[in-house]
Symmetry: C2
Subunit: 433 residues, 2 copies
C-alpha cells in the first residue's frame, strides 16, 4: 500500500499570520468563544484530518505588550473537551506544560478528554520557556532541568494510565462486583521530583494511553521527543533542513529501541491557497500589509533574545548580536540564519516572523501546494504536515476544500477515516497496560 500522509491542523482563532484578525472576514470579536472553535474543528473533520491541535501559552506577556497571542485565549482541556462533544472522529491534541502541573492532574485530564471523546485525545508535552512567574518562580530553569522534570512527569502519567488493567471492569450485577480490585495497581512512584501513590481514580482511557506529541527541537528536545512521542512537530522552512532533521530524529528513535515507523514527524506549513496563483499572491500581499511593524519588532526581539531597538526596519541586525549556542533551539537558529546568512533586513524578518514563525510559508494554488508537500514527503523529509491556516475561518476552508482533496486525488491522503481513535488514524496499536 502506498505510504500516506498524516495531516493535522493548528486550531487558530484568527490564523497563523499574526495580524490576520484584522481581515474583514475574521471573527475577531469571538476570539474566546466556543462557536468559532467548533466551526474550525468541524471544517477539519469534514476534510478527514487526523487531528486538530491546540497550542498553549501560560502567560500574557506578549498580550501585555500588544503582541496578541491568540492561542493563549483557549485553555486546552476545556476547549478540546467541548469540541469532543461536537465532533466524532477527529483527534484532539492539547498542550500542557510539565513545569506547571502535577502528573496526577495531567493524567486525569487527558484520560478525561480521552473518555469524553471516545479515544481521540493527544497530549502535546511542553516544558515552557515563559510563564514561571505565574507559578511562584522567577525565570525558567535550564532546559536540562525542565526536560528532566518532563521525563519523570510523563513517566508517572503513563504509569497512572496503566494503573487500571483493561479487564478490571466486570459489571457483575448479581455478585455486586463492578470491578475486580485486583486489577487496579498502585504505582507507588517515588522519584527525584514526584511521589505518587496511585492508582488513578478512573478506568483506563479508551486508547490505553492518549497519544503523546512533542515539539521541542533543541538537542534536549530531540532527545526527549524521540524517547516518548508518537507525533513530532517541527518548524522546517527548507527541504534540506527537514530531511536532515527527519533523519536525526528517526535515528534517535531507533536509539531508544523504538520502531521509527511508530513516530510521525510533521513539519508545519503555512499555505496561502488561492483559486489562482494570482489570487493567492493577492491574499498574501493583503496579509503582509496588515503587519504592525512595532509589535513585530518586539516579537522578533523576544524570540531572538536581542536588543534591537536601535535598528531601523531596513537595516540588518549585526551578526555579533546572535548567540551560536545550539541549546537555543531550531527556531532560533532558523531566524539567525535568515538574518545572518540570507541577509534579511529587520523589516523582512518581521514579515517572515509574522506570517510563518519559521515554518514553511507557501503561496499558490492547491495543486502547487500539493506538489510541494508531495516533494517533501517523497524526499523523506516528513510523514505529513501540520497545516497552519494563515487566516481563519476562510483560510482553513480553502485548505480543507481545495488542498486536501488534491492530496486525496493523488493518493497521498485517505478518503475517509478508517477507525475511531487518534491511534487508529495514526496506525498505532493500543498499548497494553
Amino acid at each position: 500500500m502506498k505510504r500516506r500522509m498524516a495531516l493535522t491542523t493548528f486550531l487558530l482563532p484568527a490564523g497563523y499570520h499574526r495580524d490576520s484578525w484584522r481581515r474583514p472576514g475574521s471573527r475577531a470579536d469571538e476570539l474566546a468563544g466556543l462557536s468559532l472553535m467548533a466551526d474550525l474543528a468541524r471544517t477539519a473533520e469534514r476534510a478527514k484530518l487526523d487531528a486538530v491541535f491546540l497550542g498553549d501559552c501560560v502567560h500574557a506577556n506578549s498580550t501585555m505588550r500588544g503582541d496578541i497571542m491568540m492561542n493563549g485565549f483557549y485553555e486546552p482541556i476545556s476547549t478540546l473537551s467541548a469540541l469532543a462533544a461536537l465532533t466524532s472522529k477527529i483527534g484532539l491534541i492539547g498542550t500542557m506544560s510539565t513545569s506547571f502541573t502535577e502528573p496526577y492532574n495531567a493524567a486525569r485530564q487527558f484520560a478525561g478528554l480521552d473518555h469524553m471523546s471516545g479515544g481521540r485525545a493527544g497530549w502535546n508535552v511542553v516544558t515552557s520557556r515563559d510563564g514561571f512567574q505565574n507559578f511562584g518562580g522567577s525565570g525558567a530553569p535550564d532546559p536540562e532541568v525542565r526536560y528532566d522534570r518532563a521525563a519523570e512527569h510523563v513517566e508517572v502519567v503513563q504509569k497512572l494510565w496503566d494503573s487500571w488493567h483493561d479487564d478490571a471492569i466486570l459489571v457483575d450485577r448479581e455478585a455486586g462486583r463492578w470491578l475486580d480490585t485486583d486489577e487496579l495497581v498502585p504505582i507507588n512512584h517515588s522519584g527525584e521530583r514526584f511521589q505518587v501513590a496511585g492508582p488513578i481514580n478512573m478506568p483506563r482511557p479508551p486508547q490505553g494511553r492518549p497519544v503523546l506529541v512533542q515539539a521541542g527541537s533543541s538537542s534536549s528536545g530531540i532527545e526527549f521527543g524521540s524517547k516518548i512521542a508518537d507525533i513530532i512537530y517541527t518548524a522546517q522552512p527548507r527541504l534540506e533542513g527537514a530531511i536532515d532533521f527527519y533523519g536525526r530524529l528517526k535515528d534517535a528513535v531507533r536509539g531508544h529501541g523504538r520502531d521509527p515507523e511508530t513516530v510521525t514527524v510533521l513539519p508545519g506549513i503555512v499555505p496561502v491557497i488561492g483559486r489562482t496563483e494570482a489570487e493567492a499572491h493577492e491574499i498574501a500581499a493583503d496579509l503582509s500589509s496588515m503587519i504592525d511593524l512595532d509589535a513585530g519588532r518586539r516579537q522578533v526581539a523576544g524570540d531572538l533574545f536581542l536588543e534591537i531597538d536601535d535598528i531601523d526596519f531596513d537595516e540588518h541586525i549585526p551578526a555579533e548580536r546572535f548567540s551560536e549556542d545550539p541549546k537555543m533551539g531550531t527556531r532560533y537558529h532558523i531566524f539567525r540564519s535568515k538574518a545572518v546568512d540570507q541577509g534579511l533586513t529587520l523589516r523582512e524578518l518581521i514579515i517572515d516572523r509574522a506570517r510563518s514563525t519559521g515554518h514553511m510559508f507557501f503561496v499558490g494554488t492547491a495543486g502547487q501546494a500539493a506538489d510541494r508537500m508531495i516533494e517533501w514527503f517523497d524526499a523523506g523529509a516528513c510523514d505529513g504536515f501540520n497545516l497552519n491556516a494563515p487566516y481563519n475561518p476562510d483560510g482553513l476552508e480553502l485548505i480543507c476544500d481545495l488542498l486536501v482533496p488534491e492530496l486525496q486525488e493523488r493518493g497521498y491522503f485517505r478518503e475517509d477515516y478508517e477507525g475511531d481513535t487518534l491511534r487508529d488514524h495514526l496506525g498505532l496499536d493500543r498499548p497494553s497496560a
Copy 2:
C-alpha cells in the same frame, strides 16, 4: 414576587444510592463515558434546573477497597466542558481542590469552562481530606492549614479573573488594536503560599467571576464558605438542624459584610419518587436489598475514622469510640448522633450511609416530596435543594418529570429560564472587575 427555590442536581453516573449501579436499568457499563452524562444533563436542563453539579475525589482509595466511588470516574473540567457543548442554559458546577492545584491553572480552567458555556461555570471549592499521597504528601494537613491555603488560592483566582477589564477588547481592525493593553493589569500577588504575577492570558469570563460553591460544614468550612461562596451545599437530615445551620450560615455571611440574600443555601435531598407511595417504597426496598454490607462496613469505618471490624451488623458501635471534636464536620456528627443518640445498629448505619450519606432521605410521591421541600423552604431551613437522584438515569427522570413540575405548579420553582448564565439563574449580579 414569591420567593422561589434554587434547584441543582448532583451528576451521578449510577445514582446517590451507593449500590444503585446493580439495578437492571443502570448504565453501569458506561460509567466513564460522555453519553450517560449527556443524557443526565439534558434531563436536568429539560426540568430547568439551575445547575448540574459534579463532585470529585482525587484518589482511588475507596475503589481499591471495592467501595466504588462513582463520582471519581469523571474529571470535572473535561466532563463539564463536554456538557457545555451539549446544553445551552443549565449551570455547570465542578469540584476542584485547592490543595492539589495552582491558582493560575484553576483560574484558567474555570474561565475556560465559563467561555465554552457562555457563562454557566461554577467552582465547588474543596480542600480535600484524602488524596495527598498522589501529590507528594502523606496525609492531609489540619483543616486550618488547608483552609488558609484555600482562602489565598481563591483570592488569587478572583484577582486573575478580574485582571482583564471588561472593556479591554476593542477589535479595532483599522488601527490594528484588538485590545487596550492598559486594561490588562498584572496582579503581582505575593502571599504566604502563592506568588503569581498575572494577568491571566484570556479575556474576562462571561460571568465576570464564575459562581463559587462551598460545602465544608466544619467550623473552618462555615467560616470559609460564608466569606467566599455564592452557593453553600450542606448535608442536613432533619429540619431543626437545617434551620439552625441556615441561621448560623447567614449570620456568618452578614459578619463578612455580605448580603445574606446573595448566598444560596442548598441542603441535599435523596428523593425516591414513585407514581404511588407503594411504588416508591418498593423501589426503596429494592435499593436497600442491593447493599453490600461488607463494603458498607468499610465505608462507615472510613467516614467515622473508627475501628469497627469487631462489631456485628446487629450491634451498636460503643459511644466511647466516637470523637466529640467539632472539627470533625457536620457529616461526622450526623452519623455519630445516629449511632449514639438514635441508637442505630451497624446494619442500620450502613443502610443509612449507603442511601443518603447524611442527607435527607425521602420516599413517597412527588406531591409528598414537594410538601416536605416546601415545609423546609417556608420554615427558613434553606433556599432550595440539591437533588440527589437515588438511581440513574430513571431516578433522575422521575424527579425531573414528576417532582419539579409539582414545585412549578405550586409556584415554588420557575417555569423556564429567565436568563442565560448561572448568575442569572441565581439572581446574582455580574461583578465588575
